[in-house]
């Protein structure tokens, strides 16, 4: 079902944990849908110097969190914002169709963390480019 890459990131998740003094935190998902992702970022000079995640969810959700955090580490906020769920899926060497929403969740979580940082900095939050919205915002699992 899952690619080797997914299994690797699931078994050995990168960046798992919490940043207690995070500059931005994003949280997406819903326990009744079976997945919640929390993303913590440290930002210095517009660059994501550290990132960690906590995830309650299936194998794909955990692997997506791990991969997405890997992809944005060391990137500028703009670059991190541009990282799409597709990039996560590709980096994971594919996800089963019913699991693609997990990668969307990861993208959304990162966006939330970035905007949380921006708001804290007194900046206006960036707008989602449309397309998908936060998957579980409205209490119905997609």
């Amino acid at each position: 079902m899952y690619s080797e890459k997914v299994m690797d990131h699931f078994m050995n998740p990168r960046n798992q944990g919490e940043i207690s003094d995070a500059d931005g935190v994003g949280e997406v998902g819903n326990p009744s849908c079976g997945d919640i992702m929390r993303i913590f970022i440290k930002v210095k000079d517009n660059i994501i110097t550290d990132v960690k995640f906590q995830t309650f969810g299936c194998g794909a959700a955990i692997a997506s969190s791990s991969m997405a955090t890997e992809l944005i580490k060391g990137k500028t906020l703009e670059e991190a914002w541009e990282m799409s769920n597709k990039a996560v899926v590709e980096a994971l060497e594919g996800l089963p169709p019913v699991k693609v929403h997990c990668s969307v969740l990861a993208e959304d979580g990162i966006h939330q963390a970035i905007n949380d940082y921006r708001i804290k900095q007194g900046l206006s939050p960036w707008e989602e480019k449309g397309g998908h919205t936060h998957s579980h915002d409205d209490e119905t699992c997609e």
């Binding site: 997945d35 919640i36 906590q54 309650f56 959700a61 955990i62 089963p96």
Partner: protein, 395 residues
């Protein structure tokens, strides 16, 4: 993979075909391969083999051979029982009673029947998964033609008061079907004493071959055919018989009910030890289903703060085969309808684990599963935001 050896604890999903069963099947593939409907000796051998298997199935459930009809599995038996009965009795009435915790083979067939103009009452179970006798009585109307209640649940293992339900149905002249797919070999069954009219069973759940099953139809119960065609199975179920499969089913059910009490006691003891160990070693978990009236091998536990699919994957990595009622496991949107029906909160239902023990499980397996399960739960909790919040609150 970490472990070469597999610890299989998913016997409610399927079982390995017993080597004796395979041995019994083998000659019927390419040695005695005659079509049972043909006239010559080669064919008569096949027919005799089928009738022998029919006797074995009949003996196992207290029926007569004429009341046993072979099918391609539990699903076909369930579809046939419901659709065949509903259509052949629709002049008498169009109301069917079943439960909210049936297998999808029953529930989706009921959905189909609703589209065909039947009405269906789904009885809710109590917290332990038990159907209340009073609820059945209350649900019966003038138009009720069929009541279908599973013998034992495939997820939480709860065993229903089949005899009492059968008694009510017989009294009221309502046809009573039970899906006994999970019960065969685990619970004593006697269709005659228990007033059962129709009973479904499936070979691969008791160490028989996949793609085999049977429907018991009590003598005198009217039911339409479901597969139309040749004159097989007394013109009730057409199609060239799966002779090796039927032979295998016969041997498997004979073995399943032989020394059943002794064998299920061993499994129940193992199960109870594993249960105790889990509850001792892992905090924040709860048992689903009935304390005592449950299948001997069945464990169904919810581990708070974690999700079931990832737990299954970690166990798989440790060489342990288990199952979950989490939505993620099926690609569907909702967690198990059974856990929902017994009132498990939805976020907790996502963290369910089903372990179903079988004949080949040992004490070592119990130890190993407990140890690996503890590690896996700890690992997942360590990355769970829900667990982090919970721990912070506790401090």
């Amino acid at each position: 993979m970490a472990n070469e050896k597999l610890v299989y604890m998913d016997h409610s999903a399927t079982t390995a075909t017993d080597p004796e069963v395979i041995q019994a099947m083998l000659p019927w593939f390419s040695e005695h391969y005659g079509n049972p409907s043909s006239l010559y000796r080669l064919a008569r051998e096949s027919r005799t083999a089928i009738e022998d298997a029919r006797k074995k199935v009949a003996v196992a459930i207290g029926a007569t051979p004429e009341e046993i009809f072979f099918t391609s599995g539990g699903t076909e038996s369930d579809n046939w029982a419901l659709i065949g009965t509903a259509f052949s009795h629709k002049k008498k009435g169009t109301h069917i009673i079943t439960t909210a915790i049936e297998h999808h083979a029953i529930l989706h067939t009921c959905e189909y029947l609703k589209k065909q103009g039947f009405s269906v009452t789904y009885l809710p179970p109590d917290e332990s998964g038990k159907i209340q006798i009073e609820d059945i009585r209350a649900a019966i109307t003038e138009k009720t033609i069929l009541i279908s209640v599973m013998f034992a649940n495939n997820e939480i293992g709860t065993i229903q008061p089949i005899h009492e339900i059968g008694h009510i149905c017989r009294e009221r002249g309502i046809i009573f079907h039970t899906d006994a797919v999970q019960a065969i070999g685990n619970v004593p069954i006697n269709v005659t004493n228990m007033d059962i009219d129709l009973l479904s069973l499936s070979g691969h759940k008791f160490y028989g071959p996949k793609g085999t099953g049977a429907l018991y139809i009590r003598k005198g119960v009217r039911i339409d055919s479901y597969l139309h065609g040749g004159a097989q199975e007394k013109r009730k179920r057409a199609g060239t018989e799966n002779v090796p499969g039927i032979v295998g089913l016969g041997v498997a059910i004979e073995k399943a009910v032989h020394d059943q009490e002794v064998k299920t006691k061993r499994i129940r003891d193992l199960r109870d030890r594993l249960l105790e160990r889990i509850f001792t070693e892992i905090p924040n978990c709860r048992l689903n289903g009935h304390k005592t009236d449950r299948l001997p091998g069945n464990i169904n536990i919810c581990f708070e703060f974690i999700e079931g699919e990832s737990l299954i994957l970690l166990l798989d990595h440790a060489g342990i085969a288990a199952s979950t009622g989490s939505a993620c496991s099926s690609g569907s949107l909702e967690p198990s309808h059974v856990l929902m029906a017994i009132g498990v909160p939805i976020e907790i239902a996502h963290g369910s684990l089903r372990l179903t023990l079988g004949h080949e499980n040992t004490e070592e397996h119990v130890e190993y599963v407990c140890k690996e399960l503890k590690k896996a739960v700890e690992k997942l909790r360590a990355m769970s935001p829900l667990y982090a919040d919970y721990m912070k609150k506790r401090q």
